[in-house]
């Protein structure tokens, strides 16, 4: 298990005083003090980790968020922001001596501006809630993480969430136009708006995916897209993941960027099929779901090309959706993959790394070896278009030592992703989960530079500490400069 920063005894001793101060800022039921009610916040989607927060505060205005943060900075109290708590990397894991700042009361849609294809919403609105509010006008919000029913747009900004359609339509960062944030010192800053790109540094871009370490998002302006008139999906079965992987590469090399392109291995296919009867073939080693969207002329043209490329790559099963219901059924299996795996194992641990696709067969082969070595089964679903792997390790938390072995196995998979030229996380975030693996991808210099950026936003390191960085440094220490006047050799380079 990964250790969180040591609780500050001086802060814990002042708990009653802090709770009272928060009650003065957020009156009524907005401050949660009782252990029973705090229990609801002890964990997020990374359920192996639990920690009761010192106190929970649920403000409902930007001014309250500002006052809470300002108070906490002045009194040296740590703060953990939280949306719906669906993070799979422990981004919202509380601290024993920290205030848990929940944004659930920020749940209003403030402005739907179809003329300019955008909407202004509060951070506690769910991802799907945005789409629901504009779908009668034929629009939607594009990023669609699996948790979209529950996860909030504020959390999506914090984690730069993706989804199955992001190869074509982008991640959160490509679909957000503006935000309002509150800094740890209580200052309110507005970044972007209904216009494109930033005046000055792209701090909106930096805030997106900063995992709640730089500021608290209190308003979001998102881009809305017009729904595609048509979408069709094709199921393609292969005798090996290698063939399926080559098919994906050939589709992209042919100039086709599908709306979605997912791969499942045989254990995942069987688990999904047993659960939802999507009609998947059971005798294939790898299944691709490729979805084409756009006008009918485009979809009909491309789906034939995709099928031809697949057959050329040895596909021996091919089925094109003939109706909207059938297309949805194709996806139902994939979307149910996680709960389906939950049925065949007491527990599972969902990983999230990205690799260059050319390394797919090497990575899958090594994963099979590791699976045998650790004595743990692994099931693979894969955003094939962008190389984002989601191996699920099956384990039983009640068996002593099995969670620890699972975590080690998971870490080996992520190290493998980095080794082949990929990255530790494609869309779930670093959080607590991958914090101690950051050294496999970055040097001390790289990480110190990232932490110096945090110092610009949060000089006392009070906002969501213990996430993303394996070691905490004081900003004063990071800021020290060693300039050697006169000792530096003059560069021995061509001059002009």
């Amino acid at each position: 298990m990964i250790a969180m920063p040591m609780p500050d005894a001086a802060v814990l001793a002042r708990r009653a005083e802090i709770v009272n101060a928060l009650r003065r800022i957020v009156p009524g039921e907005g401050v949660i003090d009782s252990e029973r009610e705090r229990r609801a916040y002890e964990s997020d989607g990374l359920t192996a980790y639990r920690q009761l927060p010192m106190v929970v505060v649920l403000p409902s205005t930007t001014a309250q968020v500002s006052q809470v943060l300002k108070y906490c900075q002045q009194h040296n109290v740590r703060v953990v922001p939280r949306g719906a708590g669906t993070s799979l990397s422990g981004g919202a894991l509380p601290l024993a001596d920290g205030v848990l700042l929940g944004l659930s009361k920020f749940n209003r849609i403030l402005d739907i501006d179809i003329t300019n294809r955008c909407a202004v919403v509060q951070p506690g609105v769910t991802n799907l809630g945005i789409t629901a509010a504009v779908s009668d006008r034929g629009f939607y919000y594009a990023p669609d993480p699996s948790s979209q029913i529950a996860c909030t747009i504020g959390g999506n900004v914090a984690e730069n969430s993706g989804g199955v359609h992001c190869l074509k339509y982008g991640l959160t960062t490509n679909n957000v136009l503006g935000i309002e944030i509150v800094l740890m010192n209580g200052e309110v800053v507005r970044l972007g708006g209904k216009h494109l790109d930033a005046a000055g540094y792209d701090l909106l871009g930096v805030m997106t995916g900063s995992e709640g370490l730089l500021g608290v998002v209190t308003e979001v302006t998102v881009r809305l897209l017009r729904k595609a008139p048509t979408a069709r999906a094709i199921l393609l079965g292969f005798a090996s993941t290698d063939h399926a992987g080559q098919c994906v590469a050939d589709i992209i090399a042919a100039g086709i960027i599908p709306g979605g392109m997912e791969m499942m291995d045989q254990p995942a296919i069987h688990a999904a099929e047993d659960f939802v009867n999507a009609g998947y073939p059971r005798d294939v080693e790898a299944l691709l779901i490729v979805e084409l969207d756009g006008c009918a002329a485009e979809v009909d043209h491309l789906i034939e090309q995709v099928e031809a490329i697949a057959l050329h790559n040895g596909a021996f099963y091919s089925r094109i959706s003939q109706s909207e219901a059938e297309r949805e059924l194709f996806w139902a299996g994939r979307k149910a993959a996680f709960p389906a795996v939950g049925r065949i194992s007491p527990d599972y641990y969902c990983m999230d790394g990205t690799i260059p696709r050319r390394a797919l067969s090497r990575v899958l082969a090594r994963m099979r070896e590791l699976s045998e070595q650790y004595g743990l089964r692994v099931v693979n679903v894969f955003h094939a278009g962008d190389g984002n792997l989601h191996p699920m390790i099956l384990y039983d938390a009640n068996k002593p030592g099995e969670l620890e072995r699972t975590e080690e196995f998971g870490a080996d998979i992520l190290r493998l992703c980095v080794e082949v030229g990929g990255v530790l996380t494609g869309e779930h975030g670093v959080g607590v989960e991958k914090r101690d693996l950051m050294d496999t991808m970055f040097t001390e210099i790289d990480l110190n530079q990232q932490q110096r950026l945090k110092c610009a936003f949060d000089p006392d390191g009070l906002l969501n500490p213990g996430k993303m960085f394996p070691r905490l440094h004081r900003c004063a220490e990071l800021g020290r400069m060693h300039v050697h006047q006169g000792q530096t050799r003059f560069p021995d380079l061509p001059r002009f």
Binding site: V189, G193, D202, L203, V206, T208, K227, M441, R489
Partner: protein
């Protein structure tokens, strides 16, 4: 002006370290094509990174290209073209506008200035395609951020920060960018906008249609008359242009579907691939505003529906030519240079009255750019945060100091 030519990241680190020791700030230069953008630097030493050149890795099926920062954009675009791909953010070439005969724009400069062309509305800006980099910070340290895959959220997204930082946070030495397939077919639907017809709602209707518009611009009559495309120049009035691209059956279908939307507001015509290429180049490069060279040129990003009212408000107070891209969300203005501030007060007041956005003085004499805020002035806490971000990368301000804001 004296300077150093670096050929490796290590060379760059050495020069920055020496600059720190000698308190000698550096101007970072690739091809020099965008040297005239921003506040004039008061710096005596140039760090020329054009020697860091060459494509390191390009695998079309991975949609990723990695190259050294000084690689000429033309070299990259040629390599992509050969494999049916492109930089989807359509980087403009502003050499004509800026009146410079500098050598080729580079990949590093393109990303550092966060360039974006007409396709911005559909495919994003340079920021949206910047996946990872190696750079030297203002401490003389070589560091990396991001990755070489298209989907990555490991650590802070420093790519976004470096795209549009104009070299004030670090010297880029190697970059990885996302690349995408080139469209097979391009079509443009033109509308001859008669007097009294509101063009912006027409563009909005096209952008709000399901037809995946990848360019939506309006050229007032005086500006349209300068186009090299006969159908545009010869119309005698304003021209609204809507572009669709993609696989042939799709793009031709969508162009034909857009035509009746546009035809409801006036006379229309379709342009094929060749004329489309010329027209959208002219728009992205703001080539139609290059003359007269004495005019100050502004580039303003704002709420699309506010574009016409904004331009009208400025036009009421200062004689100017306008060009509208991004469905009205990008306004280019060429203002007669009689007024001492190049129209800054008028432009920024009108922008504030239209819900805000940002205005950049793209072209003006050095003396004007030294005294007028070239980039949109930042409000109190944001200005302070911007200064702290600069300090976190370049504490002694040796990298392009003051290029964007005084003291940054």
């Amino acid at each position: 002006m004296e300077g150093y030519r670096a050929a490796t990241a290590k060379d760059v680190a050495e020069v920055v370290t020496a600059a720190l020791a000698g308190a000698q700030p550096l101007e970072i230069l690739g091809g020099g094509s965008k040297r005239g953008i921003g506040r004039p630097l008061q710096v005596e030493t140039v760090l020329d990174v054009s020697g860091l050149s060459g494509i390191i890795d390009y695998e079309p099926a991975e949609l990723v290209l990695t190259a050294r920062a000084g690689t000429p954009l033309a070299e990259i675009e040629a390599a992509l073209h050969a494999r049916g791909q492109m930089l989807a953010f359509e980087p403009p070439d502003w050499r004509g506008l800026l009146g410079t005969d500098a050598s080729a724009p580079t990949l590093g400069g393109t990303i550092a200035c966060n360039l974006a062309g007409p396709r911005r509305i559909k495919s994003g800006a340079a920021r949206d395609h910047f996946l990872g980099f190696e750079a030297v910070n203002g401490r003389g340290e070589i560091f990396r951020a991001g990755g070489k895959v298209v989907k990555n959220v490991t650590g802070y997204d420093l790519c976004k920060l470096f795209a549009g930082a104009y070299g004030t946070l670090g010297v880029l030495t190697e970059l990885s960018v996302k690349v995408l397939p080139r469209p097979e077919t391009v079509r443009t639907v033109l509308l001859r906008v008669a007097e009294g017809v509101a063009w912006q709602p027409v563009l909005a209707e096209c952008l709000n249609s399901p037809h995946e518009v990848s360019g939506a611009a309006y050229l007032p009559g005086a500006v349209a008359g300068r186009s090299r495309v006969a159908a545009v120049a010869g119309s005698g009035g304003g021209i609204a242009a809507v572009r669709v691209e993609g696989h042939t059956p799709s793009a031709t279908y969508r162009a034909d579907a857009i035509t009746p939307i546009v035809a409801a507001h006036g006379e229309t015509e379709q342009l094929g691939a060749e004329d489309s290429a010329v027209l959208w180049r002219e728009i992205g490069d703001a080539a139609l505003l290059a003359e007269p060279a004495a005019h100050a040129v502004w580039r303003i990003s704002l709420t699309p529906s506010a574009g016409p009212a904004f331009a009208e408000a400025v036009g009421n107070q200062a004689a100017c030519d306008a060009l509208f891209d991004w469905g009205g969300g990008l306004v280019w203005l060429a203002i007669g240079a009689e007024s001492g501030d190049a129209g800054a007060a008028v432009v920024r007041e009108a922008l504030g009255a239209q819900g805000g956005g940002h205005a950049t003085l793209m072209r003006a004499a050095d003396a004007v750019r030294a005294s007028v805020a070239v980039f949109e002035p930042l409000a109190g806490p944001l200005a302070a945060l911007t200064a702290r971000v600069k300090e976190s990368f370049d504490p002694l301000r040796v990298l392009n100091p003051g290029r964007m804001y005084a003291g940054v």
